[in-house]
């Protein structure tokens, strides 16, 4: 089969990680096609060879769902792609998604031993390679399932809900997913843009779930069409998993936010991604973006908005953030991509007022900030520099300041405990809420977090549900 093993260790492996082919910045800033093109088989083999197959792999505890990383990388090295995919699926329902959007540099790759001396193994890129290969070659197998009579309702079809649905379905439960929007996928569909995560990838993963017998009912807002007490009562569901995300946009409360041209990143991205506004008027929903766009905030959402603005033809796309590049919560790769594409960063600046003429945005007054003394947490908080106000000429302002909990479920479910920010309280072992049989996970519990954490919570909840129903998982 494979060649005789050469001794592999930190001194003999290729020092630099394999580059992933990308569309050049000047090209891609004009289209919505995926930026990173994925490894070829040769590139994957080269990178897989950089993993020294640690006996005690440090990368695994860095992954929130504990994927057998050396295992799947070894399978890639041996060109046994079906096995690589199997290993991934054992811990991660959506490897084609996490391989693209996980903050790997803070997780598995941050703890990879190779990274102590050289560049860490490109675990995420390999994960994406194996998953894409499997999807392209139809390797996704539908497991044999012995049906059971118990019914589970999953509310929300983001990564948390989909994972819990898959695990419950594998155990034979009858699963119905209720989704508020007209498509399934949550933020993967309406938030993260096409150039980072193509909708077709998400749709393929969802199609696999449907093959397992999961039913997805779109256009169903739980709390409106049915309540949780109804689901658990007359509708005969024995357990419910709430994964409704945290999509309630925040504004700052400064003057001018009611002007035309001010919107949340959720509105902007939803108009573009979910409603395919970039094809307007071939499709029905306009976006309403001008030519000079300022995005406030510097997380993943802000990167996605400012880069989307460029693709829609913005002449200027600024990011305005009150701290420095170092504090930006975005993935490094995305920040880097945004810089390459020509997004202009105004670090250490805070908006104080949005200015308008005849009801439309014409500018934004900002004030320069300075990092003050570190507080108890050690973080230096920004303080305004007196007299440093200036005007930025823009016609569109996008708020990407994060989101809050959506109150629809909590306000229609008596006895469901929330914390003071409106997020649901759960038992950290089982994800069960204050109501027996009702579980929750993902952003609606943690606040805005990551895809992989939502998936981890969905998996844990599925275990909790099986235990609650007296079924061995």
């Amino acid at each position: 089969m494979s060649e005789p093993k050469k001794p592999r260790n930190i001194t003999t492996i290729t020092p630099d990680r394999t580059k992933m082919p990308e569309q050049p910045p000047e090209e891609r800033r004009k289209n919505f096609k995926e930026v990173a093109l994925g490894f070829t088989e040769e590139q994957a083999a080269r990178e897989a060879d950089r993993c020294i197959q640690c006996k005690k792999p440090l990368c695994v505890p860095g992954c929130p769902v504990g994927i057998d990383i050396p295992g799947f990388i070894k399978a890639i090295a041996e060109k046994d792609y079906p096995r690589a995919y199997e290993i991934l699926l054992a811990s991660d329902l959506l490897p084609a998604v996490t391989g693209r959007v996980c903050p790997q540099e803070d997780q598995c790759e941050a703890t990879c031993i190779v990274g102590k001396k050289l560049e860490p193994v490109a675990i995420g890129r390999l994960e994406r390679f194996a998953a894409d290969y499997a999807l392209a070659h139809g390797l996704a197998r539908v497991p044999e399932i012995r049906k059971r009579p118990e019914k589970v309702a999953v509310i929300g079809s983001g990564p948390g809900g989909l994972t819990c649905a898959a695990d419950c379905a594998r155990a034979g439960l009858q699963v119905t997913v209720f989704e508020a929007l007209h498509v399934a996928g949550g933020v993967l569909k309406y938030g993260i843009p096409e150039f980072r995560l193509p909708n077709a990838i998400v749709d393929q993963e969802i199609a696999n779930l449907l093959k397992m017998g999961v039913e997805i009912k779109v256009d169903h807002i739980v709390g409106k069409i049915f309540t949780i007490p109804q689901l658990m009562g007359e509708m005969g569901f024995q357990a419910v998993f709430i994964a409704t995300g945290a999509g309630f946009p925040k504004f700052m409360g400064i003057n001018g936010e009611g002007l035309n041209g001010v919107m949340s990143a959720n509105e902007f991205l939803t108009r573009v991604n979910l409603m395919t506004g970039f094809e307007f008027p071939r499709t029905g929903t306009p976006v309403g973006m001008g030519k000079r766009v300022a995005t406030i905030g510097a997380g993943n959402t802000a990167m996605d908005s400012s880069r989307t603005a460029l693709r829609l033809g913005a002449e200027k796309s600024y990011i305005v953030y009150r701290r420095t590049e170092k504090e930006s919560p975005a993935r490094r790769e995305e920040l880097h991509h945004a810089i390459e594409e020509g997004v202009e960063f105004l670090w250490l600046n805070n908006p104080v007022e949005i200015l308008g003429v005849e009801g439309w945005v014409k500018g934004m007054r900002c004030i320069k900030m300075d990092l003050g003394e570190p507080d108890e947490s050690g973080r230096r908080s920004p303080v305004p520099v007196p007299g440093s106000e200036f005007e930025l000429e823009v016609d569109t302002v996008i708020y990407a300041l994060g989101t809050k909990a959506n109150p629809i479920i909590a306000s229609t479910t008596p006895g469901l405990k929330t914390n003071r920010w409106g997020y649901l309280e759960v038992d950290p072992e089982t994800q069960e809420t204050s109501i027996p049989g009702v579980f929750a996970g993902g952003d609606i519990v943690t606040g805005s977090a990551t895809v992989i954490l939502a998936m981890g919570a969905g998996r844990k909840a599925a275990k909790g549900i099986l235990k609650r129903l007296g079924i061995d998982g």
């Binding site: 169903h220 807002i221 309630f248 009611g258 959720n266 509105e267 409603m275 008027p281 009801g359 959506n406």
Partner: protein, 281 residues
């Protein structure tokens, strides 16, 4: 998919659909609305539930063709299916026995007034309805309104039927003639008409509720497209409304925000004319 059981055309630009939607019919209350999408790639269009029948499992929408989507939707016939329908959205209207109430509907706003009128009548209120249309041939639902109104006043802008002029004329007269005799006014219609009603009632200090039709996308509180300023507060119409105290609404901002997509929409209608392939289910 939701079947259109009945279609009725009121005028060249207004039509009614009765849709088969049993779960929705069971869950909805007066004041609720839905969002529909008529084709792949289509816009999400919010529409008020103008009537519902729990026994038959139906909801009724009354629609005015104002832009590309609502014009294309007019091509749907009985037996056709609507692609997406989600609801009930918003907070149901607060129904209680106020005493005497005046229900004002302007143009298409007449339809969404109806479920509230019926509920208020059934709650024991004395109901006075004022419904206004541009012209006689645009009038609809006169009988439905008569059935639940103790008094019914119809106005037309051009005087071809009922009182000539705007709805605020009889509204003001009622308030003047019956000091302290009216406990609540509800006004639904175009922004400019609701604003005028609020300015009419303000000096009399009569509580005035309006139903706001801001531009929406998801209708679940996720995007903030529908936000409106009420005094110093910002509210999301889709989850905090659509009914609000009209005396607090910043009308100028509201009406301005409704024109946010004017340029794009004009373009879209042009395209729709050049290439009229939309419509059909």
């Amino acid at each position: 998919m939701y079947k259109i059981l009945k279609k009725q055309v009121f005028s060249p630009v207004t039509y009614l659909w009765e849709l088969e939607a049993p779960d929705l019919a069971r869950a909805c209350r007066p004041g609720h609305f839905v969002i529909v999408r008529h084709k792949e790639g289509g816009e999400r269009i919010p529409l008020t539930i103008a009537d519902f029948d729990r026994e038959r499992g139906t909801v009724t929408l009354v629609i005015q063709a104002v832009g590309a989507s609502t014009q294309e939707m007019m091509a749907f016939e009985e037996g056709d299916h609507l692609l997406n329908l989600v609801g009930p959205l918003g907070i149901e209207s607060h129904i209680q026995n106020y005493g005497a109430v005046v229900m004002v509907g302007g143009g298409l706003g007449v339809a969404p007034v109806f479920p509230q009128l019926r509920a208020l009548k059934e709650a024991g209120n004395r109901t006075i309805s004022i419904i206004g249309f541009r012209s006689k041939d645009l009038i609809f639902w006169e009988e439905k309104f008569r059935k639940y109104s103790d008094e019914l006043i119809i106005t037309t802008d051009d005087g071809t039927f009922g009182e000539k002029g705007l709805v605020i004329v009889p509204l003001k007269r009622l308030l003047e003639e019956r000091p302290g005799g009216i406990q609540m006014v509800t006004a639904i219609g175009p922004g400019i008409m609701m604003k005028a009603c609020c300015e009419t009632t303000r000096p009399f200090g009569v509580k005035t509720l309006v139903s706001l039709n801001t531009i929406m996308v998801d209708g679940t509180g996720m995007c903030g497209s529908c936000r409106v300023s009420l005094g110093k507060e910002v509210k999301f119409v889709c989850v905090d409304g659509p009914d609000f105290d009209g005396h607090l609404v910043n009308w100028d901002e509201l009406m301005r925000r409704q024109n946010r997509f004017r340029r794009e929409e004009a373009h879209s209608i042009e395209q729709c004319k050049l290439n009229p392939k939309g419509g059909g289910a």
